[in-house]
């Protein structure tokens, strides 16, 4: 007979939420930097750079995030000949994964800015980086907010995969509690509900932003 499920057990689950959030935020921050770079490379006038960016996106979108996690976890150990804890591995893996998806989303947002805006900037004698910085990126950023928030929701849920290599976030905490209480049908619904509480407000936000930005810019998104 296992432990009963009470307030202490519930609090154990709640205390794992910061790790889920920390991993998600870290991956968003790291992936944001990678993604911006990828999006800009994919817009650049040089074909080799565009291919590099496209290849990166295809590779990470075309393989399961679980495999990316395994390769990173064992890869880091082989590469540095030290067994790291799970944290550097999950952060690296989710950063690379987010970088690919955010790169794709943001590239799509840059594409959604009308071609004529580039032309108008070019005709004011602005260099390519200045065209991007002053004219294209500010407009692309507005277009990209709803899909970016939408991706953040996916990311929060996908970080549950980190449980597999033993990183203690919300899902792993649920597994640990199940192992001691043997009450999976109480614990997993609660874990799911906690994810829902994190994700639902973001989903609502994404939808509101989408409506508002469509109305002000009058641009339909295509990606």
């Amino acid at each position: 007979m296992g432990r009963s499920f009470g307030t202490a057990e519930f609090l154990f689950l709640v205390k794992a939420i910061p790790w889920t959030l920390l991993l998600s935020l870290g991956a968003l921050a790291g992936g944001g930097i990678v993604g911006l770079l990828v999006a800009i490379l994919r817009t650049s006038p040089y074909r080799a750079l565009r291919w590099l960016a496209t290849g990166y996106i295809e590779l990470f979108q075309g393989t399961p995030v679980l495999m990316q996690l395994f390769v990173t976890y064992y890869g880091l150990a082989v590469l540095f000949n030290i067994q790291f804890g799970p944290w550097p591995a999950v952060l690296t893996a989710f950063t690379l994964y987010s970088g690919a998806f955010l790169g794709e989303i943001w590239w799509g947002s840059i594409q959604a800015v009308p071609r004529t805006q580039w032309e108008a900037a070019e005709c004011l004698s602005l260099s390519f980086p200045k065209q991007l910085w002053y004219v294209i990126l500010p407009q692309a950023a507005r277009i990209s907010i709803p899909p970016t928030v939408g991706f953040a929701v996916q990311l929060i849920k996908n970080t549950s995969i980190a449980a597999i290599i033993g990183f203690v976030e919300l899902t792993r905490a649920g597994q640990l509690m199940t192992d001691t209480t043997f009450k999976p049908m109480i614990i997993y619904p609660i874990v799911a509900a906690l994810y829902f509480v994190l994700c639902w407000p973001l989903s609502l936000l994404a939808r509101t932003l989408e409506r508002r930005i469509d109305a002000t810019l009058g641009i339909k998104q295509h990606f």
């Binding site: 032309e119 108008a120 070019e122 005709c123 004011l124 004698s125 200045k130 004219v135 507005r142």
Partner: protein, 253 residues
């Protein structure tokens, strides 16, 4: 010496011969109005002049220098040759002021303070100094197009290209934009315009160029050209314009 000289310019898009051996010169202070049906190569010609399109063959000389369209030369060219587009292409996320000051500050290194003075000056030229803090979507089409003209003037170009700038406007807004064009022409600005405003062309242009099938079909001063069209194509074009747009007939008047 002409400010702009095009010699034997040709350009193909796939199987379509957009420009076929076009030669044209523009003297300082000259106002050249290009007219013709859609698909006659007018826009392509204009876009070749400021390097948005690259001709397949032929030479372009600006101020005596041949254009090779290297990136560095393009940057210089864009300071000297401005363009105003049919769909205004203002930057929707920037105020009128910033739309105008962006080029002078970011491309020419002007200080923000000097650029603000400049913005007021060019806005005064288009009668919109009270709109300096507005955003493009708060303005009517005619006002947006006048801001776009001001933005181009702020680069202090030696030649301004106008690509059918009244074509997207509601009829009642065309007049305010044409008045600005008339004023610029009178003040001695060198201009090349694609226009359907026959009234403006007669009144303010020094030279009319009628393009047909990618070629310069007829060319000359407005009175001579409109008074006595030499070719059947030009005569039928004039007839077509006047019959579909009774308002235009009045303006030709």
């Amino acid at each position: 010496m002409p400010l702009l000289a095009l010699n034997n310019i040709s350009k193909r898009f796939g199987g379509h011969q957009a420009l076929d051996d076009v030669s044209l010169t523009v003297e300082p202070g000259e106002v050249v109005a290009i007219i013709g049906r859609s698909g006659s190569g007018k826009s392509t010609l204009l876009r070749c002049i400021n390097g948005l399109e690259r001709p397949d063959s032929g030479t372009i000389r600006f101020d005596g220098r041949p254009l090779e369209l290297t990136p560095r030369q393009l940057k210089t060219l864009r300071r000297e040759v401005g363009i105003v587009f049919q769909s205004y292409n203002l930057f929707p996320h920037l105020s009128v002021e910033r739309n105008i000051t962006l080029g002078p500050t970011a491309a020419k290194g002007m200080t923000l303070v000097a650029a603000r003075e400049l913005a007021l000056r060019v806005l005064r030229m288009v009668d919109l100094e009270d709109k300096i803090a507005a955003y493009p979507q708060q303005l009517s089409g005619g006002q947006q197009q006048r801001v776009a003209i001001a933005r181009t003037l702020a680069m202090e170009p030696r030649l301004v290209l106008f690509d059918e700038i009244t074509a997207a406007l509601d009829p009642e807004l065309i007049g305010e934009v044409v008045r600005v064009l008339d004023r610029l022409a009178r003040d001695g600005m060198t201009m090349v315009l694609i226009t359907h405003e026959v009234g403006f062309a007669r009144r303010s242009a020094d030279t009319i160029v009628f393009m047909h099938q990618g070629r310069v079909w007829e060319k000359g001063p407005p009175d001579k050209l409109f008074g006595a069209p030499e070719t059947v194509e030009f005569a039928s074009f004039i007839d077509a314009i006047l019959s579909v747009a009774p308002a235009a007939k009045q303006r030709v008047g």
